[in-house]
C-alpha cells in the first residue's frame, strides 16, 4: 500500500479506508452529536405528578382505615361489654350455677357427654343414623380368652337418651342353657340370675341425681328387638321384669355385636355406667382373672366383662342407698341444656352467637344466630346483586384492612364443636377478651371469650363465648365504610390508570414530534415539510409552530439551494458589462501600464465568469440528483460495459476493470472463482455521470495510457477510477470535491490538476453530490507504483451495499 493522502476535509481518507483497506492519513467523521439530557423528562415529570396524585387517595385510604379501626374498636368494646354483662347475668342465674357444678365430682370424664342429634335416631341396631354425630366413641378393652372390647356413643334428642354400643367379641353366645343333674337336691338348682342371663349380655346402670336407680339388662336369644328387663332385685322390683319406656335392638356383626338403646332422658348429672359381659361354659372354677359361678351340677359359667362399671358394682349400687358410692365410680351424664339456651337467646341478635361451656370445655348451651338474615327494612333491603356486591366489597375491604387473622376451625358448614379447644381455654384473657379471627370457611368473626367463675369464690366454672359475624350486615357497622373504601380504591386505580395512560400518550406524542423534528433535516441540510397536528392543546400548537418553522426553513433552504443559480444569473449582466467594457477599450491607444491593469481586470472578469458558470452547473447537478431514480443493479457488469464504451470514446487509453488495489500494478493477480456479489441499489444515470467525470478527469491528467475502473465489493462498495500521475497533495485533495474551486490556491501550487480549476473542481463536486445521494462518500488517495514520482491516483466514491 502506498502513501495515502488525506485531504483537508478528512472524509476522503476515512471512506477510502472503509472501501479499499488501510489508507494512511487523517480522517474525521462528520456527524451531528447528540447531547445528553440532564433534565428530567416530561414522562418522568408526569409520572411524578401521577404518583403525587395517587398520594391523595392514599391519605384518604389511611383516613378510612383509621376510621375503620376506630369503628372496629368501638364494636369490640361494645361486644366486650355485652359479653361481660351476659356473663354476669349467667353467674347470677341458679340454673347456670347448677349446670356448671355438675362435673365437680368427676372432672375430666367426658365419656358420657350426650350430643344433641339433629335428626331422629331409629332404634334398629344399625349405626347409619349415627354417622352425622360429631362425638367420638368411648372405648374400653378387656383381656381374656377371647379378648373383648366395648365402645359406645351417647346422644340425646327430645326427651330420650340414646346409646349405640358396639362389642367386639369373636364368640358371641346368645343362650347357654344349664345342664341339670336329674338327681339334684333341693339346693342344687342354678342361680336364678344365671338363668336370666345365660349368654352374652349388656347391662346399663343409671342413677338419677335424686337417687332413683335403674339396672337394666339387655340379652337376646336371637338378634332383633330386645326386651329390656331389670337386672337386679331391688325395692320390690324383681329381676327380669320389663322396664317400661326403654327400647333396644341387637344386631350381630362379623366381629361381635352392636346394641342400640333408647331410654327416657335422665337428668343432667345422673350417674351412669355400662358393661358388656361375655359368657361361656367352663368345666371348672375359673381363675382369679375372671368371674365365675357354679352353673348346674357339673359345670361352671365363666363370665368376664368390659365396661365402665362392673356388674357386681352395679348390683351393689342398686342395693345401696348411698349416692356417694356411685359418684366414686360411675360416669356423669352431660348434655346441652335447653334451659340454658333460653337464657342465652335474648342476648343473641342476628349475626351473633353465644355459647356456654363448662369448666372442661363441654358445650352446655348454644344460641346460634350467626348467619340469620337481617329483618328487611328500608336501610337493609337490597337486591341479590347488591348484597353480593356488598359481600365482594367487604371481602376486598377486609383483605386490605384486616390483615392476617388467626384461623379457627369453626364453621357453619362443618360439624358444630362440642368442646372449646384447650388452647383457647388456656388463653382466655380478661384484659383482651375480644379477638378477631377467621374460620376455615373464611368467615371473619369477632369473638369474646369470658371465663365464668363462681360468685364470691375464685373458682373457674365455665366459659362464655360470644361471637359476631363481621360479614353480617348487622354486625358490620362499617359496611358502608367498606363500600366507600373499595369504591375509593377502584376510583383511585381508575384515575391512576387514566393518568398514566394520558401521560404515556403525552409522552408518545412528544416523542413522535421530536422524532419527526429530528428527521426533518437530512444530512444534506434539506428540510422536509411537517404536517402540523390538529390537536388544540399545547403540543398541537408546538407541532403547528414547528411545521410552520420547518416550512419557512425549507423555503429558505430552497432559496439557498437556488441562490447559486440566481446569483449566476444576476452576476451575468454586470459581468457582461465589465467584460464588454474592457473589450471595447481600444488597447492601441493605451500605454503599457494601463494595458497591464486592463489585463488584470480582464483576468478577474474571466475568473469571476468561471465561478459563475461553476455555481450554475452545481445548481443543475443538485437538481438532477434530487430527481434521480434508484434501481438494484450488478455493479460489476455495469462497470465492464462502461469500460467497453469508454475504450471506444477514448481510443488513446486502455481501460480495464480491477477488483482490488493489488490489481492496479498486477492485472489479473486476484483470481476470484466466483464473482463477488456486487449488487447495489444505485441511480445508474447519476453514477454514470459521476463515472464520466472521473474518466474525463483521469484521461486529462493521466501520465500513462492505463485507466483502471476499480470496484471493491464489500461493505461499503468502492467505485473509483485510477490513473497514473503526480502525487496529489493534501491541499489539492481538499479542493477536489469543493463546490467552488479555489483558483487562487490552484495558481499558488501550480499543479496540473487545478490548472483548469473549473473543469476539475465542479466535475468532482458532482462526484461528491452523487456519492452523498447514495448515502456514500467521495474518496481520493494516491498509491505509489514503485516508480519514483509515479503514483496511482484513485478517485471515486464509496457506496453502501444493498
Amino acid at each position: 500500500m502506498g502513501s495515502a493522502i488525506g485531504g483537508s476535509s478528512g472524509w476522503n481518507t476515512s471512506a477510502a479506508e472503509a472501501c479499499f483497506g488501510t489508507v494512511a492519513g487523517t480522517g474525521a467523521e462528520i456527524g451531528v452529536g447528540r447531547s445528553a439530557h440532564g433534565s428530567v423528562r416530561l414522562r418522568t415529570q408526569t409520572l411524578l405528578v401521577g404518583l403525587l396524585s395517587l398520594g391523595v387517595p392514599i391519605i384518604g385510604w389511611q383516613s378510612i382505615k383509621q376510621l375503620h379501626s376506630s369503628l372496629q374498636q368501638t364494636r369490640v368494646d361494645a361486644q366486650t361489654l355485652r359479653a361481660v354483662n351476659l356473663g354476669n347475668t349467667l353467674r347470677e342465674a341458679q340454673a347456670v350455677s347448677r349446670w356448671l357444678a355438675i362435673g365437680d365430682d368427676n372432672p375430666g370424664n367426658d365419656a358420657w357427654y350426650a350430643e344433641t342429634a339433629r335428626w331422629p335416631l331409629f332404634v334398629d341396631g344399625y349405626a347409619d343414623d349415627w354417622q352425622e354425630l360429631r362425638g367420638s366413641a368411648a372405648n374400653h378393652e378387656a383381656s381374656g380368652d377371647p379378648p373383648i372390647s366395648l365402645s359406645f356413643l351417647t346422644a340425646r334428642r327430645g326427651p330420650s337418651l340414646y346409646l349405640f354400643v358396639k362389642v367386639q367379641d369373636a364368640d358371641v353366645a346368645h343362650h347357654l342353657p344349664p345342664l341339670l343333674d336329674p338327681d339334684a337336691g333341693e339346693n342344687e338348682s342354678p342361680d336364678p340370675h344365671l338363668l336370666l342371663a345365660n349368654g352374652d349380655t349388656i347391662e346399663l346402670f343409671v342413677q338419677q341425681p335424686d337417687g332413683v336407680s335403674v339396672h337394666a339388662l339387655f340379652s337376646v336369644i336371637a338378634p332383633g328387638p330386645v326386651d329390656v328387663v331389670h337386672a337386679s332385685d331391688t325395692k320390690g322390683i324383681e329381676a327380669g321384669s320389663a322396664i317400661s319406656g326403654w327400647r333396644a335392638a341387637w344386631m350381630d356383626v362379623p366381629d361381635g355385636y352392636q346394641l342400640e338403646i333408647e331410654l327416657p332422658l335422665p337428668a343432667p348429672g345422673s350417674r351412669i355406667g355400662i358393661v358388656a359381659i361375655d359368657s361361656a361354659r367352663s368345666d371348672g372354677p375359673p381363675d382369679d382373672s375372671v368371674e365365675g359361678a357354679p352353673y348346674g351340677r357339673v359345670e361352671w359359667m365363666r363370665r368376664h366383662w368390659v365396661g365402665t362399671l362392673s356388674p357386681d358394682r352395679m348390683r351393689k349400687l342398686m342395693t345401696s342407698d348411698a349416692a356417694e358410692t356411685a359418684a366414686e365410680t360411675a360416669g356423669i351424664l352431660h348434655y346441652e341444656s335447653n334451659a340454658l339456651r333460653h337464657l342465652l337467646e335474648p342476648w343473641v341478635v342476628p349475626g351473633t352467637r353465644a355459647r356456654l361451656f363448662d369448666e372442661e370445655g363441654r358445650l352446655l348451651a348454644d344460641a346460634n344466630d350467626l348467619y340469620s338474615p337481617l329483618p328487611q327494612n328500608e336501610s337493609t333491603a337490597g337486591s341479590v346483586t347488591a348484597n353480593l356486591l356488598d359481600a365482594v366489597l367487604l371481602r376486598l375491604f377486609a383483605w386490605f384492612a384486616a390483615g392476617d387473622l388467626p384461623l379457627y376451625p369453626e364453621t357453619e358448614k362443618s360439624r358444630q364443636p362440642l368442646h372449646l379447644e384447650d388452647d383457647r381455654r388456656l388463653g382466655v384473657d380478661e384484659l383482651l377478651p375480644t379477638t378477631r379471627y377467621v374460620t376455615v370457611d373464611n368467615d371473619r368473626l369477632l369473638g369474646t371469650l369470658i371465663a365464668l367463675d363462681e360468685q364470691g369464690v375464685d373458682r373457674l366454672r365455665g366459659y362464655l363465648l360470644y361471637e359476631s359475624n363481621e360479614e353480617h350486615a348487622s354486625a358490620v357497622a362499617s359496611s358502608p365504610l367498606a363500600r366507600l373504601f373499595v369504591l375509593l380504591v377502584l376510583a383511585t386505580l381508575m384515575i391512576g390508570s387514566l393518568l398514566f395512560a394520558w401521560a404515556t400518550r403525552l409522552s408518545l406524542r412528544i416523542r413522535r414530534l421530536s422524532l419527526r423534528a429530528s428527521q426533518a433535516v437530512d444530512r444534506d441540510g434539506r428540510v422536509a415539510t411537517l404536517v402540523g397536528s390538529g390537536a388544540n392543546d399545547e403540543i398541537g400548537d408546538l407541532s403547528r409552530n414547528l411545521a410552520a418553522l420547518l416550512a419557512r426553513s425549507a423555503a429558505y433552504t430552497r432559496y439557498l439551494e437556488s441562490l447559486s443559480k440566481h446569483l449566476s444569473h444576476e452576476l451575468g449582466t454586470p459581468l457582461s458589462i465589465v467584460r464588454t467594457s474592457i473589450e471595447n477599450v481600444d488597447r492601441q491607444k493605451l500605454d503599457g501600464e494601463t494595458r497591464r491593469l486592463l489585463d488584470r481586470a480582464s483576468g478577474g472578469a474571466d475568473r469571476l465568469g468561471g465561478i459563475v458558470r461553476a455555481l450554475l452547473e452545481s445548481a443543475r447537478l443538485e437538481q438532477s440528483v434530487q430527481h434521480a431514480e434508484f434501481v438494484d443493479i450488478p455493479l460489476l457488469d455495469w462497470l465492464r460495459e462502461a469500460a467497453v464504451e469508454y475504450a471506444q470514446v477514448h481510443p488513446d487509453h486502455r481501460f480495464r476493470v480491477a477488483l482490488s488495489l493489488r490489481e492496479l500494478d498486477e492485472p489479473g493477480s486476484v483470481t476470484t472463482p466466483a464473482l463477488p456479489d456486487s449488487r447495489a441499489r444505485v441511480a445508474p444515470a447519476l453514477l454514470r455521470q459521476a463515472l464520466d467525470k472521473l474518466v474525463d478527469n483521469a484521461c486529462d491528467f493521466a501520465t500513462a495510457s492505463d485507466i483502471v475502473l476499480l470496484l471493491t465489493p464489500g461493505t461499503p462498495l468502492g467505485l473509483a477510477v485510477a490513473n497514473r500521475g503526480a502525487r496529489l497533495t493534501a491541499a489539492e485533495i481538499g479542493l477536489l470535491f469543493s463546490p467552488t474551486p479555489d483558483v487562487t490556491a490552484s495558481r499558488r501550487v501550480g499543479e496540473p490538476v487545478l490548472q483548469d480549476a473549473v473543469h476539475s473542481g465542479s466535475g468532482l463536486y458532482l462526484v461528491r453530490l452523487i456519492a452523498e445521494a447514495h448515502d456514500g462518500n467521495p474518496i481520493a488517495f494516491s498509491q505509489a507504483t514503485g516508480v519514483a514520482a509515479d503514483h496511482w491516483l484513485v478517485i471515486g466514491l464509496s457506496l453502501p451495499s444493498r
Binding site: K565, S568, H569, E570, L571, G572, T573, L575, S576, I577, R579, T580, S581, E583, N584, G609, V612, R613, L616, R620
Partner: protein, 151 residues
C-alpha cells in the same frame, strides 16, 4: 457574403441595461453593423413597426419581467415569420435555450460571450440568412447548434 454586405445589415438590439446596450452597440458598430438599441418591448415593437430590421438581438429578461423576451419573440414571430431573432441572455440553462428556440428564435447567445466573438455573431448572421435564402435550409438549426457549441 462579405463583411461589407454584413455591415449594411441593420440590427435591432433590445436590451434594458443601458451600459450593456451601449457596449454592444459600440462593438457591433465597430464591426460594421447598423445598430438600433431599444430598452423596452414597446419601443422594440414600435421600431419594428417603423422599419423591420435585418436581425433582432433580443434580451430575454426585460426589467422586472423576466420572461418579457419570450413574449416579444412570440409576438415578432407572429408578425414577421422570417425575421431572424437571436436571444441574448445571461441565462444558460438548457430549459431557457429550448424555450427560446421553440418560440421561434433562430439562435441563442449568452451575455458572457466576449465581444471578441462578434465575428461569430457575424457568422451567425451569415448562417441565418443563408438558411432563409435556402442555401442552408437543411442544416439551419443543427448548424447553429454546432456553432454555438464552439463557445
Amino acid at each position: 457574403m462579405t463583411d461589407e454586405t454584413d455591415s449594411r445589415r441593420r440590427i435591432l438590439l433590445v436590451e434594458d441595461e443601458p451600459d450593456l446596450s451601449d457596449n454592444y452597440t459600440l462593438a457591433l458598430g465597430r464591426a460594421g453593423f447598423d445598430v438600433e438599441a431599444q430598452a423596452s418591448v414597446a419601443d422594440c415593437l414600435a421600431a419594428v413597426a417603423v422599419r423591420v430590421p435585418d436581425v433582432v438581438l433580443l434580451d430575454i429578461g426585460q426589467g422586472a419581467h423576466g420572461e418579457a423576451g419570450f413574449d416579444l419573440c412570440r409576438s415578432l414571430r407572429q408578425d414577421h415569420p422570417k425575421l431572424p431573432i437571436i436571444f441574448l441572455s445571461a441565462r444558460e440553462s438548457d430549459l431557457d435555450v429550448v424555450s427560446g428556440l421553440r418560440l421561434g428564435a433562430d439562435d441563442y447567445l449568452t451575455k458572457s460571450v466576449s465581444l471578441a466573438h462578434i465575428k461569430r455573431i457575424r457568422a451567425k448572421f451569415t448562417a441565418i440568412y443563408a438558411s432563409f435564402s435556402g442555401i442552408q435550409t437543411v442544416y439551419g438549426l443543427g448548424y447553429r447548434w454546432l456553432e454555438r457549441l464552439e463557445y
